[in-house]
Subunit: 435 residues, 2 copies
């Protein structure tokens, strides 16, 4: 056999590389046309049919309600997805951070709302610089922020639209009441390079209220609060061109509220374990907004040495676990690798575990623990106590992440799959851009 | 004021960019020589003095014990750090995934152990290709893995060192006993392009046993198990050149065990909230291994609109929370921005909250909730009920992440700081390389 020991370096005693110029490159994670089983893992996979149905459903619902759709790009961080949303009728996108907007501008998205306050002159300068090229809006909840934006816009000779963020119950950012909102609106309007754009009113907590009626009630209270403040501003001579807010969990109520002129949902594109655990209503509106799981983590069984479990190659570095561990997914109603492992029973009833393309949350396998680069998958005994068979060493599995946004933020590429074949490789260009 | 509305495009009705060629680039996160307060946030910061002391302490402890140090690069994913470790005497590095090793090879690290099993021919091929340039070893716990490695090495005309992973109580990967280990060792030795390298015996669970005596006891039991299997293999004619394992939480016991020829700690470089919560012993060995917090998330207060809290700009996309929320850190004994906010009292007693360079875990501020891009920081009332003052809008804060490894995996750059000034900007080149 050839000598594969490193060559000792006389100078340092450290081993040195043989032929460093010939080092291999990392092969692509997949090639268009390959079957889904050939995707190298861990990988982030988008089922394109379900994804496109999700885009279509949200746009149609917004159109029917006469409300503008400005999807949140913090969910996907992917310019290809933003362009797919805008082609279908979205008026622009939201970003949560200034730096996050850059790859979208570079891809041609010319209308970006930063749905957040910003701190520090560096961020204000970058924002004002971006506003020389595109329509840029941003939120404030303090006078000092208005001043920083005005100074930056003056320095960069550009103009910014500024919305006042209103706290409608989340208790995070935003002014508390109409008086404070009016004071800020007046400060904005007094600045020659700023224009007052209206209100942002978002309540993240409502998005994950599990019970449908309770979620409707919470959304109604929040919208009422926003509506009252908007009315007060209008009466005081500062009308809101835009009242923006809402998320994937509350959008059916926000669209019907008569308060919001614009909704900013993000996760509907993908759904995730957390949103998938929300109960849906049973009326036509809920059915029209039945979003499907389109986002998956492709993983591979890498060890079967321990009894009663398998170890897969996707752990904490391949998924966010802040909203719970991922679900195991059965593609096509349990058909995996051509073998029917599943009874065909769908989990969750009214919940979104089921899917039009036939996939479903597994009732026989559960992902029970995540280490940095390992996940433990165990069988879930059936009602009669029978223990399902475990997948084999080398077998691929798909997972539904618990929380899509921070999971996207771990990957550089989104692998698009249609009819079981790789179709697209989309860069997640805004990954890591949290400044 | 200039018109900053987007130009409508006649063809699509979508707004299009004005002057797309002039779009701004993202400015660097910091410039060498700047004061720490000028770092754009969120940013991952390394206190270089504490970092270098940590490297030194671990290397000296390994040298004193006559045990090889092979630090785990999954913790830092940063070639600059790997080279700093090897310059001080490390024999090579560990990686947890095949793709993760590539940036280290490219930087000149010529001895890499993949401390994990791998699945699929693509990974085996890449590994065997890497072995044409460097000394590469890898773990197995099944015969099929041995066969895949042998075939890949034959295809690529290279040689691989293969270690048998032994489960010493973690219940994750690894064979259960000496018989299974011996069978695999013989299969490895029978392959012309593979050589049997010995045992890997790692128990992640032990690393975070809080009580010092309990941790010592658990580490002793695990080492005993590894020692017994190594003896059995030697007696059967398959001596272990290497018995590798151990982590930052157990290394003081592993070094003294007489079983491990090599240790593979990773987190000692940084420490994190989780390791910082381990109780230390009070003998000389424990003092010699007193690692300091060197890794911080720099964040900025971005909203103070709500009463009784501030909102900072680092959330789930800037930190892993699987092992708990971050601590707020008081730099230099509570001197922040030149103002002494702190009583000087150190938290945690025997724990590692205190630090030789004067920083300490805050006793007056707590990071209590993380959203995607927001963190909520609240005051911690003192023993007498007094409520500490909150930081102001725009003020920088440092956090100690709960779990360093997956936090590193979120950032592209590690900002090195010494004496309050930016010194280095190190690329985290293996970020995202989980394949």
């Amino acid at each position: 056999m050839p000598d594969h020991r490193p060559v000792p370096s006389a100078a340092t005693d450290l081993p040195v590389l043989r032929d460093p110029a010939g080092l291999p490159a990392l092969p692509p994670i997949a090639e268009p046309g390959q079957p889904w089983q050939a995707i190298d893992t861990p990988a982030l996979v988008l089922e394109l049919d379900a994804f496109e149905r999700n885009l279509q459903r949200m746009q149609q619902a917004a159109d029917r309600a006469g409300v503008a759709l400005r999807p949140h790009a913090k969910a996907h961080k992917c310019p290809d997805i933003a362009l797919a949303q805008m082609t279908r009728g979205a008026v622009g996108i939201c970003c949560q951070k200034v730096s996050e907007a850059l790859p979208f501008l570079r891809a041609g998205v010319a209308d970006v709302h930063i749905s957040n306050e910003i701190a520090g002159p560096a961020k204000a300068t970058l924002l004002a610089r971006m506003a020389r090229h595109a329509r840029i809006s941003v939120c404030v909840d303090a006078v000092v922020q208005v001043r920083a934006l005005a100074e930056a816009a003056e320095r960069e000779q550009s103009g910014l639209t500024v919305l006042v963020e209103l706290d409608i119950g989340q208790g995070r950012c935003g002014v508390a009441d109409a008086d404070a909102a009016l004071r800020l609106a007046e400060r904005i309007a007094a600045q020659p390079r700023l224009s007052f754009g209206g209100l942002q009113a978002y309540h993240g907590g409502i998005q994950h209220v599990r019970d449908h009626a309770a979620r409707r009630e919470a959304a109604a209270r929040a919208a009422e609060r926003a509506g009252a403040v908007a009315a007060r501003l209008a009466a005081a001579g500062a009308p809101c061109q835009v009242v923006t807010g809402g998320g994937s969990g509350s959008v059916e109520f926000d669209l019907a509220s008569g308060v919001f002129t614009e909704i900013q949902p993000g996760s509907y594109v993908f759904m995730d374990g957390d949103y998938g655990s929300n109960a849906r209503g049973d009326d036509g509106a809920a059915e029209a907004l039945r979003f499907e799981h389109s986002l998956f983590i492709a993983t591979t069984v890498m060890s079967t040495a321990a009894q009663g479990q398998v170890v897969v190659d996707a752990g904490l570095k391949s998924m966010a676990v802040d909203s719970g561990l991922p679900w195991v997914w059965e593609r096509n109603g349990g058909q995996r690798n051509g073998v029917d492992h599943n009874s065909g029973e769908r989990s969750g009833g009214e919940r979104s575990g089921g899917q039009r393309n036939g996939g479903t949350r597994s009732t026989r396998l559960a992902y029970v623990a995540a280490n940095d680069e390992h996940g433990i998958v165990r069988p879930v005994p059936g009602a009669g106590g029978e223990v399902p068979a475990l997948p084999q060493l080398g077998e691929p599995l798909w997972l539904v992440p618990g929380h899509c946004d921070p999971t996207l933020n771990l990957y550089d590429t989104l692998v698009g799959v249609r009819d079981g074949k790789v179709e697209s490789l989309w860069p997640i260009s805004a990954r890591g851009l949290s400044r």
